[in-house]
Every structure is written in structure tokens, then in C-alpha cells.
């Protein structure tokens, strides 16, 4: 179970062909790009990877491609969350079978489950595998369904393989409560920011981020983490502001605009599956002006 998460981790988008089918060769190039540009771990398919628009078969094929493309260079975690819990269980089994290093799972979708039901879900999922598990907390996207301090305490007591949390509340009080309680029970527990909100979270115990903008500006993401972890507060704030502007640019219909931005950066990954829109040429042109203004075009890698 020894898996330590730290630094800028990448959760790749899912490249699609024009007919919306999976584009595995491009995906392999993308994973390689992330590892070469400093990703300390790869995790797929987060919502940014259009997880809920992929069939079970596609998710399994993508997971296999991820393990193969990473080839042991950094740890791989597979996001198993699905609308149906039984699908999540099957994806977890598959992740273990293909040699992934961990699984990651969010609180169940849609139903607004009780705290006990969320607890039962994670315990069942965590006990079903011999892999480390990462819990994913995103109360604002799931209408208040969340892992709070009390729940993480119970889960850590029940699950020796719960090693980390992707924490996406982006809220000081929630983050501190989780951090305070979790690290007391398991000092090695890793709390990872959901996107690059590192300046406000690293001083409180955050160890890294699942990047939103790493496919656009990996250098900037790494610089921010370095500034934060080394306590260079003024520099961190400036870099954080820049990444916040990028997050504003990309968060709308995520990851549609992100994929549009990747075209600008010479790393096209195809359309976004409905019901999410695909970034139009006009949107791409607007994104290009913003990337130019932020200095991204001249400071970040172009092409693969």
C-alpha cells in the first residue's frame, strides 16, 4: 500500500476522433506528454476525461492504455466512479487486474445518499480490492453530498488502504477540518487539491494538485507548486492568479474549452462528447487571445 502522492498530478482528457470514438494513439501521446513534462502521477478518467460519457468497455480499454503508456514511470490511479455502484465495483476489479497502482472514487452520484450510505459505499469499494484507494470530495458539484471530517475519520478507521483524498471543496473550513482529523489518524494521508488551488491549501497540509491546466501549461503548474511548497508566498500568489484565470477560461463546460485550448497549443485531441459542447473555432480563437495575453504561448511547450 506504499503510495505517496505529491506534486502536480495529471488527469488527462480523453482524445476522441471526429466520429467521437476513442482515439487511443493520441491518448498514448498525451499520457507520454504529461509524464515527460513533470506529472508525478497519472489518474484517468476524471470528469475532465469525460468519465461519465464513456461506456464500461471504453473505460476498461482506456485504463489499459493508461497503464501501458505510463509504463511504470509514475503511479497510475483509475477513477472508477459510475452512475451505478455495481459498475464502479467492476471497474475497481479491472483496475487491479491490469496493474494500476490505485483507484479513485467520488461520493455516489445523483441520489443524494445519506452519510451512512456514503460510508457503506466507500467501505464496500475499498474492501473489494487490494489496492490503495483515493477518496474524491466535490460538494459543490454534487449539491452538498460530501465527505466531511466525521466521515473521513470513520473511513480511515475502517479502511487501511484509504491513502489520500482529492479535495475539491475549495473552502478553508472544510479543508482544514478534513486535514486536521485525517492527518491525526493517518499522518501519511495525502490531501490533494482538486484543481490548482495550491496557494491557499499547501500551508494547511495540501501535498499537490490534480491539474486542470497541465495539458496547456505544465511549466506554470510546476512553478506554482514549487513556489507554494517552498513558501515563496508573493510569487505563489501571482502564479495562482494566473492559473485562476485559466481555470475561469476552462471551467465552463469542462473540458470542452480545455480541449479547444489544446488545439491552440498544438496538441489537438478532438471533440467533446455530447451533452457537452465542442469548442467552436471562435471559442478557440478567443482562448488563443487569452493564452497569448497570459504569456502561455511563449513559455509553454507547443505540440507533442
Amino acid at each position: 500500500m506504499a503510495l505517496t502522492l505529491r506534486g502536480v498530478m495529471q488527469s488527462p482528457v480523453t482524445p476522441l476522433k471526429d466520429d467521437f470514438s476513442l482515439d487511443i494513439p493520441t491518448y498514448e501521446k498525451l499520457v507520454d506528454f504529461h509524464v515527460r513534462t513533470g506529472a508525478t502521477a497519472i489518474s484517468w478518467p476524471h470528469h475532465k476525461g469525460e468519465s461519465l460519457n464513456l461506456t464500461m468497455d471504453e473505460r476498461k480499454r482506456g485504463a489499459e492504455a493508461t497503464v501501458k503508456a505510463v509504463a511504470g514511470r509514475v503511479p497510475v490511479s483509475i477513477h472508477v466512479s459510475s452512475l451505478a455502484v455495481e459498475d464502479s465495483m467492476a471497474l475497481a476489479q479491472h483496475a487491479q487486474k491490469i496493474g494500476a497502482d490505485a483507484i479513485i472514487a467520488i461520493t455516489p452520484y445523483f441520489w443524494g445518499p445519506s452519510k451512512q450510505a456514503i460510508y457503506d459505499y466507500f467501505v464496500r469499494l475499498g474492501n473489494s480490492i487490494d489496492l490503495p484507494m483515493i477518496a474524491y470530495n466535490s460538494p459543490s458539484y454534487l449539491e452538498g453530498v460530501e465527505i466531511d471530517a466525521e466521515l473521513i475519520e470513520r473511513l480511515l478507521i475502517a479502511l487501511p488502504n484509504l491513502i489520500a483524498m482529492k479535495e475539491a471543496s475549495f473552502n478553508s473550513e472544510k479543508f482544514m477540518e478534513i486535514s486536521r482529523v485525517a492527518l491525526k489518524i493517518r499522518p501519511s494521508f495525502s490531501i490533494v487539491a482538486g484543481v490548482e488551488f495550491l496557494a491557499p491549501s499547501v500551508p494547511l497540509g495540501c501535498v499537490g494538485s490534480y491539474s486542470s491546466a497541465g495539458a496547456i501549461c505544465p511549466n506554470l503548474c510546476t512553478k506554482l507548486f514549487d513556489a507554494c511548497i517552498n513558501g515563496r508566498s508573493a510569487e505563489a500568489r501571482e502564479l495562482q492568479f494566473k492559473l485562476a484565470r485559466l481555470w475561469d477560461l476552462f471551467r465552463d463546460q469542462y473540458p470542452s474549452s480545455l480541449k479547444g485550448g489544446m488545439v491552440v497549443m498544438g496538441r489537438p485531441v478532438g471533440p467533446t462528447r455530447p451533452p457537452l459542447p465542442t469548442a467552436t473555432k471562435e471559442r478557440q480563437a478567443y482562448i488563443a487571445t487569452q493564452l497569448e495575453e497570459l504569456g502561455i504561448l511563449s513559455t509553454e511547450p507547443h505540440g507533442w
Partner: protein, 305 residues
């Protein structure tokens, strides 16, 4: 316009006697306590001071009283929010005339007007005065309504030459970063203030002031937290921040009477809150006291007046 930066702002409770009248004798001692214990500014009749439970006349009395007691030693910020735009604007004008250094206002109570009218409400309060105006963003206290956004803040910057900054109690990193990063591009002197004691994250993204109601309970630790954060040594501030979060948690868990209960436990009895806020029962006080006793660092804080 004044270049006020409030810094470490203590916000006071409003002491009440047993008959729930304002207890000015105790209030005098309370203000003196804050001034002796690190307040760089005072914010009066904030929500922690039960502003909404004070009549308009009482709010004026409180402001006049505080200004007289403070006698210019530190700036006094007056919270003037109300449901009606004209009422709040008149209160702002009164505060300016009385000598307040700045006014603070949030969105409307009870009403949920369209965004353009919320903007107009705030803009009219701000434009009623020439002293600095701070917008209080407190979505949780406002029942989840009235989330401000960057667009509104930018428009207020266009409209109000005296718009000095935003006081945030939402603890929302996206909100704070968005506001301050956009506002600074237009006016680098625009201020973000933490509206409670979560100063580490707020400071890391640009907050320069902190408005704290727990300053009446633990002024030394609060001062320590603020001082470390102002030197931007946020890693060094973490343990103090965690201590204060535990204090805050104990106070919040005790309910509406928690803050005054904690003051009583420290030997500074300011009575109970006014209805409709619940008083702290004897059992509730015992539970709060037991929780505070576990915070061993509180032994280094001043007891009594």
C-alpha cells in the same frame, strides 16, 4: 479618498443586561479590553454584535458610544446593513457624520431582488458616503442567498470611488482569488479582508486585514495568527490557525449564545443574546466550558477585564 487599511479588526459583541437592554457599563469595559489587547481597528454592530436585533436608534447609540470611548485611538468601522436601501444609506450617512472611518454593508435582508437591484442597493449605500466602503460577502449568514460575484464587484468599482474592498466570510478560495486578482488589475490598492479567523488561506491569496469576533475571547492567539500571516510565513501560522479553528468550532457548536458564553468563560460576561437568538442554557454553557478547558493554550489568554 482615505487610504485606510484596517489591519487586525476586532468586532465586539453587544453586551445586554438581564432585561436585554444594552449594558453600556459593560460595553465600556469591553471596548477598553479590545483596545488594550491588540485591536488595530474596531468594527461595530456586525452580525456578531447582533446588529439585526438592534433598533435603528440603538444602532446609532452604539456607534456614538463606541466612537466616544475609542476617542480616535483606532479607526471605527460601522456596519450599516438593512433590508431597505434608504434605511441602510441613511445609517451610512449617520455613521460618516458621527466620525466612523468606514462603513460596511452586505446585501438585503429577507428580500431576494434581481441581481441588478442587489447591485443598486449596495451601490446606493456606498455612494451615500465619502468615507471608505467595504462590501461584506457573507453568503452563509444570509441563508445562502446573495452570492456576490466578480462582475458585481467590478461594476461597484466603476460606480463607487470610495469602494475600498471586500470582506469575505464565505471561505471560498475561488471567490476570493477571482475577486482580488481581477480587482488588483484595475486598482492594486483594492482590499480583501478575511471576515473571520481563517487568515492563512485568505492571506495567501491576498487578504491584508482580518475581522475577528473571537478577539474578545483569545486576543493574544488571534494577534499571533495575524502577525505571522502578515509576514507571509503561512506554514508557521498553521498550528495557531488550527488552535483557533478548534476554538471557533467549540463556540459555533454551542449555538447562537456560544460567543457570549465563551466571553463569560474568560471572565468577561456580556450577558445573553437577544431573542430570537437562543440563550445559552446552563447545560450548554457547561458543555462549552468543558470544550474550552481542553484548549490548554487558552490559559495564556487574559481572564477578566
Amino acid at each position: 479618498m482615505s487610504t485606510l487599511t484596517p489591519g487586525l479588526v476586532h468586532t465586539t459583541v453587544t453586551p445586554f443586561s438581564a432585561d436585554l437592554k444594552i449594558d453600556f457599563a459593560t460595553f465600556e469595559k469591553l471596548i477598553a479590553f479590545h483596545l488594550r489587547n491588540g485591536a488595530e481597528a474596531l468594527a461595530v454592530q456586525m452580525h456578531a454584535g447582533e446588529s439585526v436585533s438592534l433598533s435603528d436608534t440603538e444602532q446609532k447609540q452604539v456607534l456614538d458610544f463606541v466612537l466616544k470611548q475609542v476617542a480616535g485611538k483606532v479607526p471605527v468601522l460601522a456596519h450599516v446593513s438593512d433590508s431597505g436601501t434608504a434605511i441602510a444609506a441613511a445609517r451610512a450617512r449617520y455613521a460618516e457624520k458621527a466620525g466612523a472611518a468606514a462603513v460596511i454593508a452586505t446585501a438585503t435582508y429577507y428580500w431576494t431582488p434581481p441581481a441588478a437591484m442587489v447591485f443598486e442597493h449596495i451601490a446606493q449605500i456606498g455612494s451615500a458616503v465619502k468615507i471608505p466602503f467595504y462590501l461584506l460577502h457573507a453568503p452563509d449568514e444570509m441563508g445562502g442567498s446573495h452570492h456576490m460575484n466578480t462582475d458585481m464587484v467590478m461594476k461597484l468599482m466603476d460606480r463607487l470611488p470610495n469602494f475600498a474592498g471586500v470582506i469575505d466570510t464565505s471561505l471560498d478560495w475561488q471567490f476570493m482569488i477571482n475577486i482580488v486578482s481581477n480587482a488588483w488589475r484595475r486598482n492594486p490598492k483594492f482590499q480583501l479582508a478575511a471576515g473571520n479567523e481563517y487568515m492563512v488561506s485568505a492571506g495567501a491569496v491576498g487578504a491584508t486585514s482580518m475581522i475577528t469576533s473571537l478577539s474578545g475571547v483569545a486576543p493574544r492567539h488571534i494577534h499571533k495568527l495575524y502577525d505571522i500571516c502578515r509576514t507571509e510565513k503561512y506554514f508557521d501560522a498553521r498550528s495557531t490557525q488550527e488552535d483557533i479553528v478548534l476554538l471557533r468550532r467549540a463556540v459555533v457548536q454551542a449555538g447562537h449564545g456560544g460567543l457570549k458564553g465563551a466571553l463569560r468563560a474568560m471572565g468577561r460576561d456580556c450577558g445573553q443574546p437577544r431573542p430570537p437568538l437562543d440563550s445559552l442554557s446552563p447545560e450548554g454553557y457547561a458543555t462549552l466550558k468543558a470544550a474550552l478547558d481542553k484548549l490548554t493554550w487558552l490559559t495564556n489568554e487574559p481572564r477578566g477585564w
